[in-house]
Amino acid sequence: MASTASQRALDYLEGLPGTTFTKLYQQPSTALAIFRRMLPHLAKTIVMAMLYMPEPFAMSSLDTWIKPDADSLGARDRAISILQRLRILEEEARAYKLSAPFARSLRLALTGGGNHRSFGVPCSTPDEKPVSVDYLDTFARKQWEAILYYVVGSANTELAAAEDISAGTKSLLQKGNFVTIRGRVANITDTGFTFLLQEVNAQIWTLLIVYLEVSSELQMDPVDVLSFLFTLGSLELGTSYATTNLTPTQQQMLDDLTDFGLVYRRTPDSTRYYPTRLATTLTSDAPALPNSSLTSTTTTDPTSQDAAPTISQQQNEKGYIIVETNYRLYAYTNSPLLISILSLFSNLQTRYPNLVTAKITKASVLSAINTGISSQQIIAYLTTHAHPVLRHSTPILPPTVVDQIRLWQIEGERMTAWKGFLIKDVGSQADYDKAVSYAEALGVLRKEFRAKGWFFVTRMDQIGDQLPQHRSGSGEEAEEGYQVETDADGHTASSGDAILPDPHINGPDPTEPVASPRPTSPIPEPVGPHEDAEVPTPTPLDPGTDSDTDSSIPSNSGFNLTDGGFEIPVPYQAYGWHNGHFYYAIERLFRDEFSSSEDDSDSGEDTVNEYGERMLDAFRHDRAFERHMMLMNFVMLLTE
């Protein structure tokens, strides 16, 4: 349902703060646009059902509407999550209610009434020289293609220069990283190439989102900008609208939107503006450029296009390239834009009135790769635009060509590299296996060198950063954020144990941050140690089943350590799963491993200490994942 275009808009909207939504939803046009464009059908059904409900709608009642199978429940969860992310649905005491401004605006939009004027105010006097829809389409096409030419032409100077675009648009394209300026020449980037490959509607949204991001830097109110865009989506093509009721920000926007071809004004100070098809299709699925030369290919008879523009548009959107096994490429098109896209990654050879021949060579592919276009993108482009003749066969493209394009890219990348940490000297084979499968379960294992007993993990906080972080305070007063358990209970439980150090020997040491007192610890007091040395099951890592588990592992942390098949080795079980022990281990680990000055490996010393710092940091900030990594080290330590 959600196309890439609305997906981009959705992603942007989700990042906005709640107050922005409240302001946005004051406009009925915005509420309607979001309702019809951004919501999956189930979400629409829920909204419609709740629109006139006076009371909050109990969750249990909603559940009675949904079939209890996995698919339906999944669809419900998605719908509810989208509604909540867009701040349409509010949750209150196990019941849902619609956000008040959204509901009010949507009711207004559906039933009419009010003088909100959010659907634009048509000019009361007719234009002396009315502007035809055809003219608007041509204007929109010219403006939009000029932008695309600029992006493509930046790689191909002969074909550029035909049209020029405003300086504002150029800087916007740079801001959006579609082109980079080297010296005085603009170069297409991989983002730019992805941009070119999108359908027009998605391109417009992509550009508008960059515009939105830039506009907030220019002190333009994003609410004004967004609600004007949504208003544009509800306007009628071929009608002129008055500029008089627009806010200053929106008046300013009109100039930029004229540059993009979204609106047409006869003169820059005209009091009326015409939305073009690019604008009126912003919040619908209709094709944005029906008579576009940019997608005009010569696979269908050009004269038939006027008869059925929509159908021929869809045929034209794809299907004009034939690739042969000898790397020759035939493109049935006469559009300079398409030709210049092809020239990005192939050597053009001959141009006929309706056909271009080209050859894919190593040099042409490598030059594309040098500008940041990936072999994947080239292959995707050739596949989606393959001529219908090729579509009869599977695979669509000759495999030799596809493989060769990939190989050309790989050839330039003779080595693959990952940042991370090499873990060595883990201990016995069994411990090694456990540690590796643990790292694998967490998705950080990159490579293991079984013969050597080493393995390599990527960044330790890779997952940790995505987990909910429980912080006690600003996080800077870190030294108090963790502590070593030194009370008598913890001691008793571990005494007599040859592996864990005696807390009183290791005791508080002013120079060791680890030994600082505990008053502001974010971690609750341990409930009590296991007096029994035998913990019956390896489940203590499951926070749900053992009240004595380390409360620092949030039960909603998203993964369960026992899932990975990782068992706590017996020596560890013997000491129970207890805050105090955990901290002993960390402290000892820190001392032994990371702050010892007699470190023998000279090359690794800096990074090893950095690693220790990272662990401490994780500890202070109560980052669950890194603690798990520490546990892993702890396990290794214990099994020595």
Binding site: A417, K419, F449, T607, V608, Y611
Partner: protein, 73 residues
């Protein structure tokens, strides 16, 4: 005692590995931290870009001729 060594793990063909070793020798052994096996080395984080550039140069010198022949048709 387990040890964690930070760095960049490089995976490559044995032939490329040989070139990397040679580059390492030419640069005071200042690149490689750990020679793991024929296809893997651990290198210093800050030397990664430098090594990439050096490798590119080395390849340009050695592989060029082969490319020329395969390209002609």
């Amino acid at each position: 005692m387990p040890r964690a060594v930070g760095g960049v793990l490089v995976e490559c063909d044995p032939s490329i590995k040989a070139i990397i070793s040679r580059i390492n020798d030419q640069h005071n052994h200042d690149i490689i931290i750990e020679d793991i096996d024929d296809e893997h080395v651990l290198i210093k984080k800050d030397k990664h870009e430098e090594l990439k550039a050096l490798l590119k140069d080395a390849l340009r010198d050695t592989v060029k001729e082969a490319e020329e022949t395969s390209e002609s048709e």
